[in-house]
Structure formats: structure tokens, C-alpha cells
Subunit: 372 residues, 4 copies
């Protein structure tokens, strides 16, 4: 494989690409991974488990980290620079799993070298940068994908299906808690580190951008690097509240969706979705019913019924994400977590950061309409 | 007993009061309860379990509710008006367990009639009204107490002792969730209904008023009556986040206190306090240690040690609250949940309401210093 | 009311009884309770909550215990002897909540005096005594009922319905744990104290007596009074295992029913039934399927599907039990927990005791067939 | 390395061995693994993670299984026969992870070829076979170890320390549940499959053999292959109860140790030990205390105090087991899970099987005293 021919024909690769993809399918995709610290090895393990992938190069400023990973991947070269790694023309794709501040530069370099790119979340630190990278990839006919891992999680998909099928009724609000005693980082704050997960999930569920964002955040360990944040995403029809903390005695990854007909708790630690047939029903007067309270013209009746825990397929989201990247590279199709999706998530995080700096002030999002 | 002599000598009753209290101790305290709906019967049960109490009158606009309670209290009279009940001069005290909007009027009437008064939370809907009622009671030498029930809960007291003893180190933040599928009320919103609990607990723990308040609240079931609220109390040194909801699939009553040395989870549903010896330690460079990450001049080291669940005394807070009211009436001492405490809590709820009406805008509290 | 007319016409009262029952329905049932220790007050509270009941007498050898209960029941007389209490001819029924060793004597005395009788479990310490009491009651046309409380529990009834509806498929086994840090008793061992619960539930579910019983039991605190027991009930088609302990760090009341089609966990502490669509399916060879292992002519395929928690009615079993007793007294119908049911339960406990004394030896039950 | 010199000097290798061990330390231990089905790959992963180990050969009758594992171990040869694999003289050790019925034959062949051997539990199906293998290994100066994995688990070791330090007081009983919806096997029943875990743990804790064994077991899926078992181990001073099931809706791995001073719950699924300061205290009369009940000359007082969850080291037992095997091979020291330990565990399982075949009859163990 190698360089894209840059015909830039929108969603999907050019015709020449299809032929190349066909060729590629007959051999393994050779991948360079940049960043062998905490997350890199997890991506590498997921990627290496796919028979179509060959880890060809491991890049890290700290060569010891690269060497440690290399022990289980004898075929991979180690180096401290992506430029060095890209001298190997047989490399097809680059995975960027570094400090977010370096994503744009590394992804650009890889795209320029004609490589397909998978970048860990967040794709960039501004929505503008996301779009610039995206245009670049499209022009070159290359796959550019961001690692919004939870988009590949069966519970997240199941909740979306419940919402789309109107099983939950009118959705009132989503509440998310993502708490742990953290691997505190200095290169990225809690909002940009974990926030992309919640924001991409909520966006996937609601399908539109919020109207406005509030963020209250606090820095206890390092001045200017929030380790606790409360984010409020206001939609025309609902609200999402996201609580993030690196300072918590218990690991909590729990999202609650409250609808008028049903309520759902998605516990990511237990990898379980609990669907509660519960709610408060409004009944117009005239009917007579069980336990109720009447206000004005209607009564509010509490309904607390069965609870159901559906069996979901056993899928490792990180592995499914790698597989989707492969599929996109091989077929030329657009990733579901493409640069536009990334830009929407980053736009919200930018607004949250602006709100945080102004003491939680309401920040409106300029463009609301989004194609989904 | 009967009328207070109104000598108004500040904290505690006058000398004449002591004599009367002495007298009173030899017989039962005769109590009228106003409000026999949801909460009233719970207070009545707690009060009636004390041998020093006799429920003398049950007042409710809905006489059927009063009659239902009366079945187990054959000695009590039922009536639809407090005025009517107060015609019985042998009544010593009045418990007000009605719609919050009626608290001031009913408490005033009882005080004017020379009765000691226990009012359910919130004492009033404005801090000014709390203080007016308080002055009135002091002038008359009567006990006026508000039912901040959790002040009498052993877990709440235990957490305060841990904080006061500096066991948690520097306290970073408190996070509280009070969620259930509600008995939705039209007479009071979620903030004023459940908020007094969290606010009085947090205030008890921190011992000072917050500097500013934010409140984001949403009304799904009844226009203008929030059923979901996120309240942020900002202190000079810490933050408290309070989440309240009437629309939740699970009953959650959980407060987390995160300190620099230890972290505490107080689960009110399990009636348990879990003390985690966990945190992120800052170590100045020069020392060498286990798993760490170095930022500038110091390293952040994760510490995750033992977990401890202390055995706490079995006390029913509502019963302890009734007992404390009795003690105050009998000895003339000031209730720990007096009108000043009530005013501080209500001041915060007023600020939250103001913030909510302005889309979560920051509302500063004028007077910060508070004697504790 | 008063004496039964002793026409002894089998199940149900005689015609005269019906007339008396009719009469009775127009006024309250006057009840004497013998035993005001731990369990008595619970029964009294449940009974007193029924409007058709009036607690007329409280009997306990320790008059202080009776007096303590009487505080909330001013109309009741207190005495140390049932004989004394029965001098009040207006008493209609007697509840026996004393030491099991005294049940037969007290129940006999009450029946002789023509009173309906509700006896706490176990009805007697031998199946023979159960039957003697039963004949006596039938001859006199009186209601005799034993307090197998769990027969009135919605989760227990729900599991029975699942079994009867063949929803669980072929039932393989029942496993029960009833553990706590006990109120250790010297008057009754763990087997006779808690065993009646599990045995009556299992018998209700299976509908037949076991073929044989094993019991391994151990006494740590008091010589000869087991505080730990493992009971095995062997049926032709299934097995039930019951673990009882007074020495356990956690309160556990959990029964698991494993069927070929579904499995059920009934957690009495959480008051919840969880229905798991799970099992191991046998498939005859020839078909091809997912994860399987083939043995001989068939394959075993693991099936692990959804989990369902049905909403069950909120019923207080002790109150439902009192209500059933009332219904039987008023209508003359046979209690579902009559003396025959009691005899079947006691027969199993007798066999368990015999097995325990012989080191867990298999004890066969003579008569297996039982009408249900 | 290669053949042992067979000097048979008891515990530890001969001097010649020490020299060889020294030599060996300078290069990797080359290991052949027999059995690449369910458990084999887990052992291989643990072994391969140790830098001193090289997987040299993968043996399985099903060559596809061996090939699947080999994908991640390019240096390993695959073959269907141990005899074939042993032709490679550079192999130092053999891991046997096959059907238990084949353990003796395969281990014997490996020992005869002069290889060190690690055998999965159970070492053999009779205590006699365990001892024969052990003698063989000693004579040849080779390491023979059985994979009683839980002996290397920090929670198991912690509970033993609590028992040895008398922190629990007098130990009354151990109760164990090991339940799941099984990978049902036809080559080994539930007793021999999972029983070695519980029996080796209990034996480690108590340090002596039980006096007698009962076993009640039931076969629902395959005639003659129990899938449900209740085992009772009777000691002079205590009892252990072990419940095993392949037919359970929930995965439970939970052991409770009840002592006179404290009680411990070890939950293997949560990987947690909970120490409860709880019990029933016997107090001689004369003293006055809180809640108590007096029987004869003493009172039983319930004590329910704090609960403590100690932080234990993060150790992967399977990896620690492989490391211990390496240490024994390198230093010539005796494995803590040697053939004598294996024989004691197998003796109990043999007794359980005998008891099961006789309907749960008590089976006494001939030799009780055991060196620990």
C-alpha cells in the first residue's frame, strides 16, 4: 500500500484505493504505534489479537517503554521518532496513543506520509484542528478515525436502541458518573481525559449537539489541572449531567437515563444494563387509579414495575474499535467515529473549558444542527 | 405549663421557666401535631414512643387523615384547625408537619399561644422569616426547633468527628446524591423538599457558610416545580455538590467526602460509613517510591489502603430528634437545630432558587461568617 | 362468641359455627396473646394493625414484658397465666408465641376453653402431637393454625407459580441459606428455630415429602444445642439443601432454585426474586451449535440469557398470616397452614434431629405420599 | 540442563544439581506444555510472562488447539505426543495440563526423561499414585509440583495468618461455596474438578487432616458424573462444609471462617477479605453487661463491631505458582505444594467419592497426623 492518491472524493476512498484495499486484504496491515505508556499497550494488545494486523513499529520518546512492549512482539522495530519509523515504506497505518497535545502534529505527519491514522481520544484540542485533520485525510483518500471506544460497547449501543425505539418514552435526563482514584496526569486534565467518553456516548444517544454547556471544575492536586468536574449539557428537550473525578474512593462508571416510560442504569464496571419499568405517569382527571396525587387537571401516579437485565454480546470495545478501523481501511468506508464526530465532541469540551474558566458560566454552542 | 413568660433572656429560658420545666418533668408533655399526611404520622410514631410524650391533639384539614392516625392514639382529639386545638390549655407543645408554605403562620400562632414548637424542615421559606420566628420564641422564653433530622444521625455525627479530628486531612469536596422515584409533591419542589437534609449535613460538617451557590434545576412533571437539581456550594477551601431527583430508578442516599488523607462514603440506605485509607500523596522530589508520576518539583503517588466500616450506635434519628426537643423544653437549653441554624440552611436554599431562576448563575452569599 | 360446639364435621366449622361467625363479623375478634418476648410483640403489632382485631389480654411469665407491650394497647389486660386470661369469656382466640416446648400444653388449654388458636412455628415437637391437637380442634369446630409465615410471602408464592407453570423446567435442586449472628436461644436449637421456615417453603414448592433426610449439625456455644446445621432433603426427583447458622458474620436469607430451563434466586433480605434464563442444554447430535462440548450422543450447551426481577405486591407476610387466621375463624374454612401441614414439617425436623444424633446418617421417612 | 542424576537425597537436589541449577540460571528454562485446551493456555500465558521461561513445545492430541496457542509463541514446536516433544533434549521441564486421568502417565514419562514437572490439580486420582510419583521425582533429584493455585493467593495467605495469629480465636467452622454455570466436563466430575481448590485451602488453614468425610452428590446432566456436591469435613475441633455446583445462576466463590473472636468472609470474585469483629461471647455470671441472655452459669452476649477490609498485595496466583516452580527448579528446594500435600488433598477427595457412592455415609480417614 502506502500513499493515498489524494483524489479527495468525499466519503470513501477513490477507485484506485479500492484496488489497493483489495491488494491489502491479501496481506497483513502493518501498523506503527506511537506512545507505549499507559494506553498504548492496551491498544497494541487489542490490535495484535486481530489476525489481519502486524505491529511493525513501536515509537516512544522513552525507548525502555517501547522495548518492554516489544518483548511480546519480536517482529516490531523500536524507535524514539515517528519520522524514523515512517522511513519504513511498508507501514500502512499509524496509531497515535500519546499526550493529547501532540495528536495533531503526529497525525498530520502520518497523513502526509500517506498512512491511515487512528488517534486516541480526543482527536485534537480544538474542533478546528479536528476539521483540518479531517480535510487533509479526505483529500488524500486516507482513513482518519478517533478512538471513541465506547461507541463500540454493546451496552452503549443497546441503550441507544432503546432510545431510538422510543422504549424509554420521552427522555428527561442522562446522569453520568465516571470516578476513580486516578492515575493523575499532568499532560491532560480530567475533563479532556475522561470527558470524551461521556460526551461521545451522550451525543450518540441524543444525536444532536447541546444548546449550552456549564462546567464547574476544581483543581486540588495541580494548579490549573482540574481533577474534579461537573458538566451540564443543556439540550432543548433534556439535560445531561456528567461528573468526573480522579479523587474518588470507589471506581464508579455509571450512567442513568431517565425517560417518561422507562429508566435505564448502565453500569460499566459490572458491564450491565438494567431496564426499570418505572416512572411517574400523568393521568388526566376522570380516571380513577391506585396511589396518586392530583395537581390541577392531572394526577401523578407512581409506577414501579419489573426490572430487566438483557444479555448482551461479549465484545471487547477496544478490539471492536480496531476491527472497525481495519474495515474502514480495507473498504474505504467512513469510520463511525470520524473527524466530524470528533469535532462535535471537542466543541463541547472546548465550551466546557471556557465555562470552567468563567466560574461555570453558561456557554452557548454556535452551531446546533448536526447531521447524524 | 402553658404560656411562656416572655422574659426573652437570650439562649435558654428564664428562671421562672426552670421551675416550670421542673414541674413539667413530673408529668407528660402534651403535644398537638398539625399535619397528618405523609410525614406527620412518622413524627407522631417517633414522639409517641417516648414515655414522656402524650399526643393530645391531631390537626389536619382532611379530618379523615387525622382520624386514621387517631386509631392508635385513642387519647388524642382530632380537629381541622390549630386554633381549635389550642383552646385546650393543657397542651404544652406543637409539632408542625405541614406544607412548608404554612410553617410560619402555624408556628407563629403556636408561639403566640405560648407553646413550644418543633417545625419540620424547612423552618420557613426565607431566612428572614426564620429569624423573626426565632426572636419571637426567645422573647417568649419558648423552645423553637427545626427538624433537621440528619443532625441526629450517628453516621453524620461520625463523619463530622473524623473531619474535626483531621483524620481525613484537608477536605477537598463533598458529593451527595439523594435520588428516588418520588412521591412528587406540588406544594414544594425537590430543592426545598430534600435540599434541607443535604445542606444541613454539609453545613454541620464544614461549620461555615459557602461563599457562593450555583443551582441547575429542571422541571419535567410540573412546570415551575423542579424535580431534578444539581446544586454547587463553593467554599473558600472546598466544594459541595448536591444532586437531587424525584425521577430516579434507584433509591440512592449517598454522600462522599474526599480528603487528602482519607475518603469516606456514607451510604444512608445501608446506614453505613466506609472509611477508605486512600488518596493521592504529593511527595517532594528527592525521595524514591513505588508507583508514581513526577510533575515539576513533586510526585503524585497513589495510595489505596485498607477500608474500615465502623460500628455505629443504633439510633433512630427521628426519635433522637424528638428526645432532643423534649430535653430543650425540659431544661430550657437551646436546640442544636435552632432558628439560626435553620436560617443558614434556608439562606442557601434561597440562593439556590435565585441561581436556578437565572440559569445556574453564581449567587454570592452576603454574610459568610457564622458562629458554630 | 366463645366455645365451639364440637360437631367435628371435618374441614370447616359446623353450621352453627357459620351463624356464630356471621355474628362475630359484626364485632371485633378479641385475642389473648401468650408470650411477650421477642416474637410475640411482632405478632401483636401485625394483629393490632387489623381493624377487626382487639388485643384483649397479654400473658407472660415475666409481667414486665407484658406491661411493656401493654403501653401501646391500653385496653389489654396483663397476666402471668393463660388460665387466668381465659377466665374472660369474651376472648375468642389465643395466639401462642412462647417457647416451642410449651406449645402443645398452651394450645390444648386454649382449645379446651373453646378458643380458636394460632400457634407460632413449630406447632409441636412431634408430628404426633400436631395431629392430636388437630383432631382436638376439628372435634370442637375450632380453627387451629400454625404460623408458617413464609407461606404468606409474595416471593415464595411467585416461585411456586413459576414451578407449577413449568417455567423452570425440571427442577434439579433447591439450596437455602438462613444465616445470621443470632439471638442464640437455649430453649430451642437452630434446627427447630429456623428450620420450619425453610422446610415449609420447600415443601410448599415441591408438594411432596422427601424420601430421606440427612442432617449434620454442630454445637459450639451450648452443648447439645446445635447452632450450625446442614440439612439434606432427598426427593425422588430432586434434592434440597438447607444451611442454618446462628454464627455468621452476615445476615443471609437466600434460596436458589435450579431448574433445567431457568434458575431463580430468592433473596429474602432484599425481598427480591431474580429469574435467570440460564442453564445447560442437552442437544442430540446432528445439530450444529455455538459453544458446546460433546459427550457420547449429546452435547451440553451453556445458555446464559436475560435476568428478570418481577415486581411483586408489597405484602407484610406476618400481617397476611393474621388476616388468613381471621378469615378462617370468620368463615370456618381450613387454614392453608393447618395441623397436617404442620405435621409434615415437624416430621422432617424429627428426622433431621434423628439423623443429627447419628452423625448425619440417612433417615427415611415412612409415609411419603401427601395430599397437597 | 537435561536429566537429573538421580541421587535421591531427600528434600532438595544433590550438589551436582546445584551446579546445574547455577548454569540454568544463566539461560531460560525451556518448557513443554501438554494440554492446550481450556486451562493450558492460562498456564502458558502466566509462564510466558516470566522472563526466565521459554515455551519450547506445545503438545495436544488436537493439533489445532496447539497451533492456536502457538500463534503468540512462534518459538514453540507443536506436536501430538509428549514422547515426540521429549526428543528435544534441551527441554528442562514439562507442565501437564490435561485430563486428570492422564496425569500419572504423562508425569511419569516426563520424570523418566529427567524433566522437572508441574502437574495441574489433582496430581493423581489416588493418594498412592501421588506418593509413587513423588518417590520417583525424589530419587531422580527432580522437582515435582502440583498446581494448587490458591496456595499462592494473597487472600488465602492472609486468612491463614489471621488464624495462626489467633486473631479469630477458636475457629468453629469454615463454609465454602464454589458455584457457577459450568463448563461441564465429562472427563472429571465437579468434586475432582473444583474440590482440590477448597480442600487444599482448608487444609492449609487447618494444618491437619479431617477425621472423617461425608459427601452428598448428585448428577443431573450426565449419569455418574456429579455436578452438585456437598462435602462435610469433620475435624476434632471444627467442621468444614464445601458446596460445589456446575449448575448455578450466579458465580459464587466465597469462603466464610467463623471464629469465637472474629469472623472472616473471603470473596474470591471480589478478591476481598472482610474481617468482622463479631461473635457471641460467653461471660461467666457475676459481671453485668448490655444485651444478653443467661443460660445456666454463663450468659451469651452478642458482639457486632467494626468491619475491616485489609489491602492485600496485587498478585496473580497462577503467575506466583509458576514463579515458585521456577524457584524450586533453580534452587532445588521443595515446593510448598509437593506430592505429600497433593496426597493429602487426594486422600480427602477419595474419601468424599467413597462417601458419595454410599449415600453420604461417614468415611473415616485412616492416618490423621500430618506434618505441616
Amino acid at each position: 500500500m502506502a500513499k493515498g492518491n489524494g483524489n479527495g472524493n468525499g466519503h470513501g476512498h477513490g477507485n484506485g484505493k479500492a484496488a489497493v484495499a483489495e491488494l491489502l486484504r491479501s496481506r497483513k496491515l502493518r501498523v506503527a504505534v506511537v506512545g507505549c505508556g499507559y494506553w498504548g499497550p492496551k491498544v497494541i494488545r487489542a490490535a495484535a489479537s486481530l489476525p489481519e494486523v502486524e505491529i511493525a513499529a513501536l515509537v516512544d520518546l522513552d525507548l525502555d517503554l517501547a522495548a518492554k512492549v516489544q518483548r511480546h512482539l519480536p517482529a516490531a522495530r523500536t524507535t524514539t521518532s515517528l519520522t524514523e519509523a515512517l522511513k519504513d515504506e511498508t507501514i500502512d497505518a499509524v496509531v497515535v496513543a500519546t499526550n493529547p497535545a501532540t495528536h495533531v502534529e503526529l497525525a498530520s505527519e502520518a497523513l502526509e506520509a500517506g498512512k491511515h491514522v487512528l488517534v486516541e481520544k480526543p482527536l485534537a484540542l480544538s474542533a478546528g484542528d479536528c476539521r483540518t485533520l479531517g480535510s487533509d485525510a479526505r483529500e488524500r483518500g486516507l482513513t482518519l478515525m478517533v478512538g471513541h471506544t465506547f461507541r463500540f460497547s454493546p451496552p452503549v449501543q443497546h441503550v441507544r436502541e432503546l432510545m431510538r425505539g422510543r422504549e424509554l418514552g420521552e427522555v428527561y435526563y442522562v446522569d453520568s458518573q465516571r470516578l476513580n482514584l486516578g492515575r493523575v496526569r499532568s499532560d491532560v486534565d480530567k475533563i479532556w481525559n475522561f470527558g470524551p467518553h461521556d460526551v461521545s456516548i451522550v451525543q450518540h444517544w441524543f444525536g444532536v449537539q447541546p444548546v449550552a454547556v456549564h462546567c464547574h471544575a476544581y483543581d486540588y492536586l495541580q494548579a490549573g489541572v482540574p481533577d474534579l468536574a461537573f458538566i451540564v449539557l443543556e439540550y432543548d428537550f433534556a439535560v445531561a449531567h456528567i461528573q468526573l473525578s480522579w479523587l474518588s474512593p470507589e471506581k464508579v462508571r455509571r450512567m442513568t437515563v431517565v425517560g417518561s416510560r422507562k429508566m435505564v442504569v448502565y453500569d460499566d464496571v459490572a458491564n450491565q444494563v438494567m431496564v426499570h419499568d418505572a416512572g411517574i405517569d400523568r393521568e388526566h382527571l376522570g380516571r380513577s387509579f391506585g396511589e396518586f396525587q392530583s395537581f390541577g387537571e392531572f394526577r401523578l401516579i407512581q409506577r414501579s414495575g419489573d426490572m430487566h437485565v438483557p444479555r448482551l454480546p461479549h465484545v471487547e470495545p477496544l478490539q471492536a474499535q480496531c476491527q472497525h478501523f481495519l474495515d474502514c481501511v480495507f473498504t474505504g468506508k467512513e469510520p463511525i467515529t470520524n473527524f466530524e464526530e470528533a469535532a462535535r465532541v471537542v466543541q463541547i469540551l472546548e465550551a466546557a473549558t471556557e465555562s470552567r474558566k468563567n466560574g461555570g458560566e453558561r456557554v452557548e454552542l454556535r452551531e446546533v444542527a448536526v447531521s447524524v
